[in-house]
């Protein structure tokens, strides 16, 4: 940390920076490093065994696959929600806008039991179940990891849609909240320029508005994805938590802990941490890139 700052006439630099770094180190960096240090004591074979056993691989697939799907659905509907909130006036808009933040504010355990009450087999919307199972089941066939269920010899049951619903819920605010300010600052002149040049409304949306929104859309998607990867509270109630089938990775970590397999739990945690950090890094790079590219 440079001493150029010493020239500032404002006091408190040393104190505030010192405290910040110390607190950060004790609360965040030291505990996080514990996970890596613990893992470094493992042999390579033991590590691979811990992070790549069939059950763990199945959990990754569930976590990554359904998180991706939920984030994609959020990207699509989040774009519509943000567009409607910024562009169209309608009664009760302020309330709807506030509601978007609910998944941030509502404790995950509460969300978990509430979603279960609605969407579980005997819940409020239980009649939707065949539709969910059919829809998501069919979607899975189109995904690159589509045939894992058959591959593992597990029959698709109805609980993956539950995971999908919970992960969509908790990721919902990210896309909307990253898009909203960008949409608000989008100059109407861009659309007007496009219109005076003869573009149809649809061409304007596709060629002018969407490219302007793309960085924010990807950022929001990545944030929703990252959040969904780590989510635990809202999922455990609604998912069946069946090993090899509907067991998400965070749950597997807890299961290992309960079996006193600290090393196994930590190894999986390290894999998840590294993927989250990579995602975080990508998000930061993307934001930096779009800030530089878009400042005019």
């Amino acid at each position: 940390m440079s001493s150029r700052s010493a020239r500032s006439i404002l006091p408190g630099f040393g104190l505030s920076l010192g405290f910040t770094v110390a607190y950060l180190s004790i609360i965040v960096l030291l505990p996080l490093s514990a996970a890596f240090i613990k893992t470094s004591g493992m042999s390579w074979d033991a590590f691979v065994e811990a992070v790549a056993s069939p059950r763990v691989l199945a959990a990754y697939r569930v976590s990554f696959g359904i998180s991706f799907l939920a984030a994609a659905v959020n990207a699509f509907f989040g774009l519509i929600v943000a567009w409607v909130l910024v562009r169209y006036p309608f009664p009760g808009k302020r309330v709807v806008d506030a509601l978007v933040d609910l998944p941030f504010a509502l404790p995950t355990a509460v969300a978990g039991i509430a979603l279960t009450a609605i969407y579980a087999r005997n819940g409020w919307a239980g009649f939707l179940e065949p539709l969910w199972a059919g829809g998501v089941g069919r979607l899975e066939q189109w995904m690159p990891w589509g045939s894992w269920a058959e591959w593992l010899g597990v029959k698709i049951a109805f609980d993956r849609p539950g995971i999908f619903i919970a992960l969509t819920f908790i990721g919902l605010p990210f896309v909307v909240r990253t898009l909203q300010p960008v949409l608000e600052e989008l100059e109407p002149e861009l659309e007007e320029a496009s219109a005076t040049l003869g573009a149809t409304r649809w061409q304007t949306i596709r060629k002018v508005i969407l490219p302007e929104l793309t960085p924010a859309l990807i950022t929001g998607f990545a944030m929703a994805f990252a959040r969904a990867l780590g989510e635990y509270g809202s999922v455990v109630f609604i998912a069946g938590n069946m090993p090899m089938h509907s067991e998400i990775t965070p749950l597997l970590i807890i299961t290992k802990l309960e079996q006193y397999d600290y090393r196994g739990a930590t190894a999986i945690a390290v894999v998840m941490l590294v993927s989250s950090f990579v995602l975080l890094l990508l998000i930061n790079l993307l934001q930096k890139w779009s800030r530089r590219h878009h400042k005019i």
């Binding site: 100059e187 219109a195 040049l197």
Partner: protein, 348 residues
């Protein structure tokens, strides 16, 4: 192609932006819409472009006699240059310019080569030959302005509309670019309307100036015309400096009239239309006291006070100032060479 706008009325809620405005732009001319902010000039331009629509039932826009009032912006054949350029940031300069051609229906769209060719020609026309591959963020303000212009011209518009084209530029670039625009207009001869609040800009490059105020057109005429013969106190005030002299004023003969103006209470006189003569008994004119002398510049300016608190500025040549050898607190005689009398007062 001429532009005719008649009886254009536009209200935004309780706010009236245009109050039954008529405008006629002759084919091939460069016309300035000049006025202070809030005068309605930008709204008028946007209505001509089809970006806004006049209030229901009012007004009509015609290009070369053909009614385009209900034609959407994209099909009117206007080139519109926005104040802050509105360049598409995710496209290169060349892609920006080609945009209007690329969005055409396949049947009307020129081939890829033709488009590339046209883009090259336009880049050359706006003197940005080698910058087609750059992104807008990599250009200076003046360059962006010219890209916006080329983009608007790419669709071969019938009329060119510019909203405060130099407003976002610094003073030096602004001066260069407005000369360039005048020159450019002479070359392509496209009917052009631009909006500005800068009277110097309008007077310097426009063939015709339309002075607007309070949702109305105050005066239309050549730059010389509106400057020399302002139709209203507002125009007098808005174009250049002016002294408002309280009547009576000894020896003041109103322009174009023999007899005295009974109703007139204020005479509008430009600083260079006043004359200073040394104080002597018997010389016709009004007595004033010299307050200060500003001799820095090509023209000298003298501030004087007449009576208790009427401040009057006079512009005169440096040679004449030397001749007079004025000092602050000197008493002098002011004589009016030319003036206009108005019954109402107008203060900006």
């Amino acid at each position: 192609m001429s532009i005719t706008a008649s009886k254009i009325k536009k209200t935004f809620g309780a706010y009236t932006a245009l109050e039954g405005v008529d405008l006629n732009v002759p084919a091939g001319k460069l016309v300035a819409l000049l006025g202070p902010s809030g005068s309605g000039k930008t709204t008028l331009l946007r209505i001509i472009a089809g970006l806004e629509f006049a209030d229901e039932g009012s007004g009509r826009i015609a290009f070369h006699g053909e009614d385009v009032t209900q034609v959407p912006a994209g099909q009117r054949g206007v080139g519109f240059v926005f104040q802050h350029y509105a360049l598409f940031r995710h496209m290169t300069v060349a892609q920006n310019i080609a945009f209007g051609l690329n969005v055409r229906k396949r049947a009307d769209r020129p081939s890829k080569d033709e488009i590339a060719d046209r883009v090259q020609k336009l880049l050359k026309l706006v003197q940005l030959d080698n910058l087609g591959g750059r992104f807008p963020t990599q250009l200076s303000g003046g360059q962006r302005q010219r890209v916006a212009l080329a983009r608007a011209l790419a669709v071969e518009p019938k009329v060119l509309l510019l909203d405060e084209p130099f407003g976002a530029l610094d003073a030096k670039v602004r001066k260069e670019l407005r000369r360039w625009l005048r020159h450019f207009h002479d070359e392509i001869n496209l009917t052009t309307v631009f909006v500005t609040h800068d009277q110097e800009e309008a007077l310097e490059i426009a063939d015709e100036v339309v002075v607007m105020n309070n949702a109305r057109v105050e005066q239309v005429g050549t730059p010389q015309d509106v400057y020399d013969h302002p139709a209203s106190p507002f125009v007098y005030n808005f174009l250049g400096n002016v002294n408002r002299l309280q009547l009576p004023w000894r020896g003041l003969a109103p322009e174009g009239s023999g007899g005295p103006f009974i109703d007139a209470r204020i005479a509008y006189v430009r600083p260079h239309e006043l004359e200073i003569v040394p104080y002597r008994i018997g010389v016709e004119g009004e007595v004033a006291t010299v307050l200060s002398i500003h001799a820095a510049g090509s023209v000298a300016r003298v501030s004087t006070r007449r009576g208790a608190n009427e401040l009057i500025d006079i512009e005169l040549s440096r040679a004449r100032l030397d001749e007079l050898a004025l000092q602050p607190d000197d008493s002098v005689i002011l004589r009016v060479r030319r003036s206009r009398l108005f019954t109402e007062d107008y203060a900006i």
